[in-house]
């Protein structure tokens, strides 16, 4: 039986966060990563960027081709982990191999949701998900023969796919069940700005409705919406999100809610088993609860924290919350935290829209700190706000200033500024003492 000191199931960003950290401190232990997809580690977040091209796999890679070699990691690719025995410390693969581990990380990610609608079946020739390289390859093959496409889902991924397909010259319709696009992520005003940008470009957006049925046989020929609208199509893209992949964990008896439950050290309920990324529920420092936060930085940082604890260096993951950088046509948007919350939920909201530049800033405040922000168009230096939020800094005294485009460290009161800047030595100690 093969044995590795550290074993990772799932070969994506969560895995990379973990093994890069393991290797920075431990050059000699054995590490293996199991990935069911046959590819070298690639970035699924790049899919929308290459939708309009026949891309070589190399373009999609998240780390260089010699990555596993350089880090001394054994990749076990094209193999799925099908069984986990936490008492015996072993994982079973789909080819019958059994691998034993010292410590295990589950970074199994998510599985695309396909809502139960008559005729909606991704086995059909022209109905595709949009979460994996294989989906991109399928869509690329279908593109030359497609004129009309319907995208189910007005979230970030659905909208990014819609924009890319529109730029490819297709006639695109987006169907979203909620009354507005991106409803869980941004406030209503921002949703409207985005919808406007799409409509102006000629993409049709149907909100407050969904598929009643998909027409056609082996090939979908069109969809009928719950409001009666009929939309003919040559290609159907299902982009309504992912659910955590928890089967392996659940069958092994780990505590699982929507995602695999982990504490702040990323430990699951089983000894020596950790989890991170889209498959896990992590502690959200703003909400003060555990939830699924299926986001790239969260997977990487979760993997990193797991690695520290696997190494016996105690670390807590206390910086997770929702955050997104996105762009649609000419709109650049950055959001973090609770952006759908408003005054009626007991928060204070300060916002400003500048019609000339079409820039919008909105901050959600409570107890003297930032709980969320959305920046549209003027997004430069957005990370300063995330920093203020993560550190729980008191901001009420300069809340109006948050709305200014030139906001920076010099806008922050001196005492706080000095504290924030001395962390990474932006200013010399001499200056920190005297300024």
């Amino acid at each position: 039986m093969e044995r590795f000191d550290y074993l990772i199931v799932g070969n994506s960003v969560g895995a990379v966060g973990c093994l890069e950290t393991l290797r920075s401190f431990d050059k000699s232990s054995s590490i293996a990563v199991i990935g069911e997809e046959p590819h070298h580690v690639y970035s699924r977040a790049l899919l929308p960027y290459y939708l309009d091209q026949e891309v070589p796999v190399e373009k999609m890679l998240y780390r260089p081709v010699d990555f596993y070699d350089r880090l001394g990691v054994t990749p076990v690719l094209g193999r799925r982990a099908v069984g986990l025995d936490t008492a015996g410390h072993v994982v079973k693969l789909d080819d019958g191999r059994i691998i034993s581990y010292g410590k295990l990380l589950l970074a199994t990610g998510g599985r695309p949701i396909v809502p139960p609608v008559p005729g909606l079946d991704t086995e059909k020739e022209n109905i595709c998900n949009f979460v994996a390289l294989q989906d991109l390859q399928r869509i690329s093959r279908l593109l030359p023969s497609a004129g009309r496409v319907v995208v189910l889902g007005g979230g970030i991924i659905g909208l990014m796919a819609a924009e890319a397909l529109h730029k490819k010259g297709l006639e695109v319709s987006v169907v979203e069940l909620a009354p507005r696009v991106l409803a869980p992520v941004v406030d209503e005003f921002t949703s409207r700005l985005i919808e406007e940008a799409f409509r102006r470009s000629g993409v049709a957006i149907y909100t407050g409705t969904t598929f009643k049925e998909v027409q056609g046989g082996e090939r979908a020929t069109g969809v009928v919406l719950t409001d009666g609208t009929s939309l003919p199509c040559d290609l159907l893209v299902v982009a309504v999100g992912v659910v955590p992949r928890v089967d392996l964990a659940r069958e092994a008896g780990l505590a699982v809610n929507r995602g695999i439950l982990v504490n702040q050290q990323m430990e699951t309920s089983a000894a020596d088993v950790y989890a991170c990324g889209d498959c896990a529920e992590v502690y959200d420092f703003l909400m003060g609860n555990r939830r699924v936060l299926p986001l790239w930085p969260n997977a990487y940082a979760g993997g990193r924290v797991a690695a520290y604890n696997m190494l016996g260096m105690k670390r807590e993951y206390d910086r997770a919350t929702s955050m997104n950088a996105m762009h649609f046509f000419d709109l650049n948007i950055i959001t973090a935290g609770l952006n759908t919350a408003g005054e009626k939920d007991g928060f204070e909201v300060v916002s400003r829209f500048d019609a000339g530049s079409r820039s919008y800033r909105r901050f959600v405040l409570k107890d003297d700190r930032i709980y969320g922000f959305t920046l549209v168009t003027g997004i430069a230096r957005a990370g300063i706000f995330l920093h203020l939020m993560r550190r729980g800094c008191a901001v009420t005294s300069f809340k109006e200033k948050l709305l200014e485009r030139e906001f920076g460290y010099l806008t922050i009161p001196e005492g706080l500024r000095r504290e924030l800047l001395s962390d990474e030595g932006v200013i010399s100690e001499h200056a920190a003492a005297n300024q």
Binding site: I379, A380, I384, E406, L420, I427, H430, A431
Partner: protein, 148 residues
């Protein structure tokens, strides 16, 4: 880990560090050509904040556990384990601006013309960062080792 440290108390807000940063990252390395003839013009990678009479230059900190690297979806940003520098491979960058969202110092500069970002690389081909060398008031210091 090397980085540029600012002395805001002696920074006079002349923005020459930005100018020389642009020159250092231009193709021609010539101040006139860089500003008049290179399109798109390189963006300065140092941000000089102004809230007069105060000014403050901010550079990438080459953080130990960089938030920008954590957020980068393409792998364009990475931390070289040998030099400790945070590097950016512009060829891989897709301009998603996740790093702009993540950097606590606002040290990732958007290059909207190229739909990419730029960030202080310490002028790694030149030995000493151009901004440090050219600052008329010695408001920038290149520190080769820094312990926080």
């Amino acid at each position: 880990m090397p980085r540029v440290v600012a002395k805001p108390e002696v920074c006079i807000g002349c923005h020459l560090c930005e100018v020389w940063c642009v020159v250092a990252h231009s193709r021609s390395k010539n101040i006139l050509k860089a500003f008049l003839h290179e399109t798109p013009r390189p963006v300065p990678r140092v941000v000089v904040e102004e809230n007069l009479p105060f000014t403050l230059p901010v550079h990438c900190r080459h953080c130990n556990e960089p938030s920008c690297v954590e957020a980068c979806i393409s792998g364009a940003l990475y931390r070289d384990p040998l030099t400790g520098r945070v590097e950016h491979d512009a060829g891989r960058c897709v301009g998603c601006y996740s790093c702009v969202m993540a950097c606590p110092y606002g040290a990732v500069v958007m290059d909207e013309v190229n739909r990419k970002v730029a960030r202080c690389d310490l002028c790694k081909e030149m030995g000493e960062p151009a901004c440090v060398k050219q600052c008329p008031n010695r408001a920038l210091v290149y520190q080769d080792s820094f312990t926080s």
